[in-house]
Symmetry: C2
Subunit: 373 residues, 2 copies
Amino acid sequence: MSIPRNLYRKRVKKAQELMEINDIDAILVLSLENYRYFTGDVRKQPRMLIPAKDEPFVIAFDGEKEEVEKKTGMEVKTYRSMPEMLKHVVGFLNSIEKDSPTVAVEMEFSTPAFLLERFRMANPHVEVVDAKPVISPLRKFKDKYELESMKKAGKHADMAMEKALDVIDVGMSERDVALEVEYYVRKKGAERLAFPMFVNSGERSLWLHGLATDRSIRAGDVVLIDIGPVFNGYCSDITRVFVLGKAKKEQKTAHEIYLEMQERVVEMIETKKGEISILEIEKENEKFVKEKGYGEYYVKGFVHGIGLNFEETPFPTIFPEDLREVVEEGMTLSIGHSVLSVRGVGGFRIEDTIYVGKKIEYLTSFTREFVEV
Amino acid sequence: MSIPRNLYRKRVKKAQELMEINDIDAILVLSLENYRYFTGDVRKQPRMLIPAKDEPFVIAFDGEKEEVEKKTGMEVKTYRSMPEMLKHVVGFLNSIEKDSPTVAVEMEFSTPAFLLERFRMANPHVEVVDAKPVISPLRKFKDKYELESMKKAGKHADMAMEKALDVIDVGMSERDVALEVEYYVRKKGAERLAFPMFVNSGERSLWLHGLATDRSIRAGDVVLIDIGPVFNGYCSDITRVFVLGKAKKEQKTAHEIYLEMQERVVEMIETKKGEISILEIEKENEKFVKEKGYGEYYVKGFVHGIGLNFEETPFPTIFPEDLREVVEEGMTLSIGHSVLSVRGVGGFRIEDTIYVGKKIEYLTSFTREFVEV
């Protein structure tokens, strides 16, 4: 399904409408994800300016001009040095007919702190605000083109997990498992992994986050694997837990409780979409896990948005205000983000990527059983 | 060569001395690189506080406590939720006996803008400053343990480039070349790549930065390859340019000029270390390339520091104040960072990682000839 250029124009137009509502004069786009979202082009260190009431333009290195023009169909201002590049930005800011224009910048992980600091210092007359109120309302709902890429990413997540189960063995290092799986899934067409794969084995399965280290996998280990293949810029996210050998009863129980949590949350979303907030889901989930006697092992943050970023609005573990977000049709979510970390037993998670359509669609569908390898 | 724990204590002590000089009451360490530098431990989303006059401590997820204690030998305060984690930070800030304590945070690429914004909002009585004046003076000089890791990273860079030359072929996509090389070098022991490998072929060799895309490599293409394998957390950086077939005269000339630039800069550093600044090197280099008639193709930013980050102090393309940094013994530098982008001819770079010892040591040593594949 090829994406019509017109779609990118529509996205820009919608952003401009939201800029009007939010009294924002321009957005400075610096992240790969938003640049891709608004242009379809893929470029390192992109720079794009979207004025509220005029045509957007891209600032690119001189040697990239033709390609950027061809790929974006937009005006391209070029530079060969940092001062030339900054001149385009400052020139644009000065062209806004206001004493103190309001300019939105992305403040999430793609924008480093120093950039914000220095942008403010260099442009003291500009009021700098967060671009979230303009970007999030657009990106949290996926259109059919985005959904198609998300589905393909999900298929790659399933293939990756299948491969992980296939290669994992006692004596292998976590790092080696990760390398074989990553090579396989990229060979199959995944663009990259959204984050370095987790292969959290043994006591490391208790971790909040994860890594693949030199630790050798041992018989009896619980191994938590979290992987996020990217297709066409869109991320998937899947987590499964295996045990190398026979699982203990407490391990089976913890795994079962997690699976029940996941199923309950998916059902809540299925039946209450358009009404239920992330906070309500979170509270309900916490109540359930407490009743099961596992409250002390539960870590909040069960659900998050996913798309061009592997964590995006609603993203309540980083942005507490996102707890108020209502789950609505058209969203893609990751369900099963936080670990049930039971000391002496293991860490458990079952994470899937879903699309909130008229009915819930699982974009990842690898077996949710607790597999004994 | 195993690293004595005492070394990490010394690094913390040196940081504390610099904090005293800079009137900083504490540093909040959030980056993987600085956390590793001060503890030797590798962890996702690390959080460490170094008070100017007291023992440092780590804030970690409850399930990671034992491992963090074992690996760092430091006090570990634990949390199971975000509010608990923040309580440790705020509790510490309130324990500083000052109305308005000065706290340094890293502002480089590891700290996102929103975190700085929210930290300031949540702690209005705290004066937040950049940690650079404390971190950079330490990290820009490498000790023998760091140098050993840098040397190993350099060997992996050479192996990776050898592999790239081996696999590259007409009809292969840039992405496939990148995947085979990355797999190979990680299999050989590289921890990861510091950045997604550049395989900039044909007109894409003109780019300022790079990527590996689906573009198929064609006969006659100039291909610019930039790769940065990481060993023990330490980065290498190497760039070479190949041509698929017979090189044109103008291509050979541009490549020769670049090589001459690189050799001249290395010689400048060799003979004038301890005196010459990055700005002086840059000016001298620019003068040379102008004399050669290639001034209009030259992009500034020929030299940068390298270590736990693949770009670190001196890092003049991002931090203009670093132009004033003097090149001194003990630094590790990347020489050949910016592209000579000649429209209609190709993009050329020869980049190597060097150690500024009594004599210059090349940590990467793959042939600098212009190879016709």
